[in-house]
Amino acid sequence: MAEPLPTHMRPERSFQGLILTLQRYWADYGCVVLQPYDVEMGAGTFHPATTLRALGPRPWKAAYVQPSRRPKDGRYGENPNRLQHYYQFQVIIKPSPPDLQQLYLNSLAAIGLDMKLHDVRFVEDDWESPTLGAWGLGWECWCDGMEVSQFTYFQQVAGFECSPVSGELTYGLERLAMYVQGVDNVYDLNFNGRDGAEKVTYGDVFLQAEQEFSRFNFEFADTEILKRHFEDAERECRHILVAGEREGSRHLAALPAYDQCIKASHAFNLLDARGVIAVTERQSYILRVRELAKACGKAWLETAGGGA
């Protein structure tokens, strides 16, 4: 880093400082720094900048923050670690560079983790997303026993072999911030790095939202509407895929079709949280989303971005 940061901007002082530091680090490496995708999704991996860009031969480097919605993990703001809405910091690099582990460790150093003091470990974690038809091998990255990131070499996405393979890093931002700030409750995180009356905590920003969305996720969401949303998204996705298909030339609408796939996935997650999906139905919903993801991946490979 060129000049010393003011205290309130430092990664160990504020949640936003942590995000800014990671963005700077990966921007400096050559990633395009994107803004969050404007569709609700369960994880940063669903962002088309990861799912779709991981497919096809074209090199790609991107980093972005993605709000992740996990309706089932809502705890009405009462659990110090679990949130139904949280932030992931996502890095995707295709092809995976040979020094990706070192790049990752340097990013930890950039946010203030001293490797002479802390015990960083790569612990086996095979990643699989049944809804995306994707899998990869990698690790959970532990810092002093705390899982702070996931590190994955994508092998398959949307049912297609990745060639070349991308490296994906996912930082759990709240956890990492709790670690570097030394707080035990996520709502106590210092968000803006100021003290006294100026200080804004994570709780100031998100506690009410966690309470309200927990009510929505578990109690208020209209399941009939959600089922309709799921079916509409599924239908629209298929419709777009057919409409954009051109025999012998590029597909015209892989990205809008994929948006519908993400929407279907989120509707399923909400239905699941409402507890209206029987065990036997669950698998069939997952399969339906996977079929959409596969079809979108296929369409993407027929676009310029997919290398066609």
């Binding site: 110090p80 582990q101 070499y153 060639s163």
Partner: protein, 758 residues
Amino acid sequence: MPDLLLELFSEEIPARMQRRAAEDLRKLVTDALVEAGLVYEGAKAFATPRRLALTVHGVPARSPDRSEERKGPRVGAPAGAIDGFLKAAGLASIDEAKVVADKKGDFYVAVTKKDGRPAPEVIAEIVPQIIRTFPWPKSMRWGAASAKPGSLAWVRPLHSILCTFGAETEDPEVVAFAVDGIAAGNVTRGHRFMAPDAITVKRFDDYMPKLEKAKVVLDADRRKDIILHAARDQALALGLELVEDEALLEEVAGLVEWPVVLTGTFEREFLDIPPEVIRTTIRVNQKCFVLRDPKTGGLANRFVLVANIEASDDGKAIVAGNGRVIRARLSDARHFWETDRKALPAYRDTDLKPLDQRLKKLRDQNIVFHEKLGTQGERVDRIRELARGIAPLVGADTEKAARAAELAKADLVSEMVGEFPELQGLMGRYYATAQGEDASVAAAVEDHYKPVGPNDRVPTDPVAIAVALADKLDTLTGFWAIDEKPTGSKDPYALRRAALGVIRIALDNRLRLPLTPFMAANIADHNVELRMADAKEVLVSARKLEEAGITKRGFGVDVLEKILGEKAAAEFARTSAQAAWERVQDLLAFFADRLKVQLREQGARHDLVDAVFALGGQDDLLLVVRRVEALGAFLDTDDGKNLLAGSKRAANILRDEEKKSGTKFDGAVDAALLKEPEEKALAAAIDAAMPEASAAVGREDFAGAMAALAGLRAPVDAFFDKVRVNDADPAVRANRLKLLNRIREATLAVADFSKVGG
């Protein structure tokens, strides 16, 4: 002789794969060396999180010269055959082949000489091949190379290969090869954080110490040793004891190259959580050990972690960080522990106790146990009814057994078991106790899963025995009914374990328990249900056909319904019972097999088990074992051995005669036709021994039955000594054969002697 050193340096290898991978590397390389004629003196392989290493010492510098002979066609064979032979053997003309004579004439033989090659050349061929086809349980591609098909796959990205070969007295050479652009060299790296620089290595002798200096302990067993001793010492210094855990030790030794053991603390108040929960939380999520306080016998509020670095603050930050995670985990566990003992919001207004609410939830959720075997709720009902039936036979209170069976699966919907499936049963016991269930009911909730493995405890309390047997018999009969039996190495529902569990419970507790009735009822129920489901499907299709206008009204559904309702029901009952009975017999045979395995491990002869099961109708495991024991003891005596020999001789003669004449000699012996004193004596002895033996068997006094048969030994011996079976008078001869048959019948009171070996 020279030594080979090989190291494959990669990103972090999963701990659970390391030991196997090192062993695979050793075997694959040394087998290939031997195959190439390089017979070595010794080899040892190692694994750390970042490397597999192999040292092979005493490898010859060259592989030996070899000559291979290939047999060709006969001299004077057609030209086509000769040409084919020349091509296959790589000869230019038939003059290069030599002629060898054998019984049938002269043949061509091609002799090809293969010169030995320098060992490094051989190694440079062998190793890349092994790397490319290494049997990792799961491997991956990476980097720019993965854009092309067929790129190297490894467990995680492979960074470098070190491969040297040479004698102690000289500088070894780097074996020249490359795999997907990774050229073998003589350079490795030390610890990721403490000694990341390159290290140049000559051979194993300096490789290991140089790594050690670079903060890498190469040998996993040494890492385990270091961890174990440091953990014990630190516990001792605190006046505590390490709760040892071999599987965890193996795992953590695979997560570090330089083990540093540290001890941390958590708040005493967490010790209110059941100790098994604390241990599981800390072990599964944090891979840390726990400590026991010898004064109380309970857990101490400490944990032992294994770090991978010597931190500049002596590990204070590491201990603090781990402590924070452990506290968060224990808070979660305490939350589950408290929530699970409270009412469920949805059932708050019922008068059900907390665990009964979970049972209700389990039923209400219709969680499928197996597609063809219904829901968990239905399974609970079946186990409860089985337990009721078994209870009186094992001395258990019927109502307690039923209650325990009902609660046995309720903890599956508890928060704690949702988080830690391995705590199933145990949590059920805690929650049952918490709501004031009878102590033996609570204990049975935990113990009904037991014994889980060969070293696991077998339940001894009658209530637990009843539920444990019911659980296992329900599983076995269910999967037998739908024909999902274990095959070869595939046993996804752990049915072998279930059968072995039944056997151990019956034998360890000396239980008298005929299995057939319990198996038959359950299998028959499943069978009828499945077939009714088929019938329902037929009906539904018929309705659809009608709705679609494909079938005409009048011929349609109502007729079919009537037929299926009346006649089919009876037919179902008949064929189902038949099919069910066959399945029961098959399941009994499965038990016999498991019992054989079990008894063989205890040193019993499996032919004796066969001899007893061959009697038929043997469904009481304890009686089978008692018979086997008595038979074994009897056959160890002279009387037993001789009677066995005599009875086998009788059986052989009979078999031959029955074959020759096509008749059986199973009628009564005619006393009037008995001439010789020895045959009269034998007939009398059999007449006396048979009822005595049967009576003893009736009393389940198998030793007594054997003793009764022992009396036959002398008359049988005397008979064969003095009496000729093959008398000139056919009536006398037939009568003597009938007498031989009586010997066989007599011995069948205790076992089928024809199945006994030797």
